[in-house]
Symmetry: C2
Subunit: 229 residues, 2 copies
């Protein structure tokens, strides 16, 4: 004979399921900061392919539908994560170092943060800054640095956007497989490219992606630097 239906489950049952009775809890269980932190943790553990609303809810020990009391969509969660990650980008050098060194350290930091989060790039690239306050704060720090360095005001935004576009594209490049340029059986019909790949100079960098990033970034720093008053 089974136990009474109202008998509580033993405290150390192996299912760690979201146990909470229906109805509004006394204190709210969720908030946007908690959702962001859990999302970041889940992405770190399971990657973006394992990042589902159901999995996120499980991490937070709530039903998936509970999330929708705090965010309007999964994209909303990605926006929260993106904004948080942007706050990790190092802009401190704009206060302490010359313009070219500041741009360099900011750009490498920015690329490094998002190379582990490339699925967010689609989100950032088209997201109004008004929806991402920490991202806006980064732009303020960077444009203030450009301004102080004597950059002509009319070109500050364009220069930042150009750098950012390069940074986003380069973040993808970090994730490319090592053999991406192996032409395989078609090597004979592509002699120039095959030779160029074979003789690529790594210039002491650990990864090809770093060589390319350095090359493009230094090109931009040199050309943009010349625009200053």
């Amino acid at each position: 004979m089974p136990a009474l239906p109202s008998a509580p489950a033993e405290p150390h049952r192996q299912d760690a399921k979201p146990r909470r009775r229906v109805g509004r809890p006394a204190a709210a269980v969720l908030d946007q900061d908690g959702i962001t932190a859990a999302a970041l943790q889940l992405i770190g553990k399971s990657g973006y392919e394992g990042f589902t609303m159901a999995a996120l809810a499980r991490t937070l020990n709530v039903a998936p539908s509970a999330l929708y009391n705090h965010v309007a969509s999964k994209r909303d969660v990605l926006v929260l994560v993106q904004d948080h990650l942007t706050s990790l980008v190092d802009v401190s050098a704009f206060d302490a170092e010359p313009w070219d060194r500041a741009v360099r350290s900011w750009a490498w930091s920015y690329r490094d943060v998002f190379s582990k989060h490339t699925p967010l790039i689609t989100v950032i690239a088209v997201l109004p800054v008004a929806d991402a306050p920490k991202t806006l704060a980064m732009y303020e720090a960077v444009s203030a640095g450009f301004s102080r360095a004597g950059f002509p005001q009319g070109r500050i935004v364009s220069a930042i956007v150009a750098l950012e576009s390069f940074i986003f594209g380069s973040a993808y490049d970090v994730t490319a497989p090592a053999d991406i340029f192996d032409s395989g059986s078609m090597a004979e019909s592509t002699p120039n490219f095959t030779a160029a790949v074979a003789h690529q100079d790594l210039e002491g960098y650990a990864q090809p992606a770093d060589v390319a990033f350095n090359l493009g970034l230094e090109a931009m720093i040199a050309a943009f630097g010349a625009l200053r008053a």
Copy 2:
């Protein structure tokens, strides 16, 4: 009383459903080129959010499962589309014009093609060239042009990758909303950035994205050009 079950439907029925009897057809209905063409047409009509395997199958008048006789996955279809689009990128200037003009026309063409297909960038950026023969052909044309222009062989691949990273990032930028940099209610706390946005010089270009692309591209062309022998 209903008609006999075997009675054929009237030829001008309003449902244009995939009507074909079960079993292998006398001649194959599908092939990769046809799938690619239909995918391109569907994307043009419905965008990437409307691009599903079911919708693609409907365009081709087959059952969704029929597609899997010719491609292994939806990603496979995207690879086919990507490779076809890359063949539309204009590399002709590398045969006819000086290096800097050739790079310029190639880069603008490349950006323009993929700015309408940004969801493919995730695919291209990490796709081994051996899986995309037309993409490989583009690299051959470009690296041959760099080689003829006296570019040091050890830096050809890095230079192309840097340009490509910038092109991909810039393709996203084309799709950004016009008010992306509107700081809204936070304008007061971001005075430098807000002023820079207000005073952005469009330099005669139609879109801000074009100004930034020009700025970054010319920076790279200038710096990379100086590397030539």
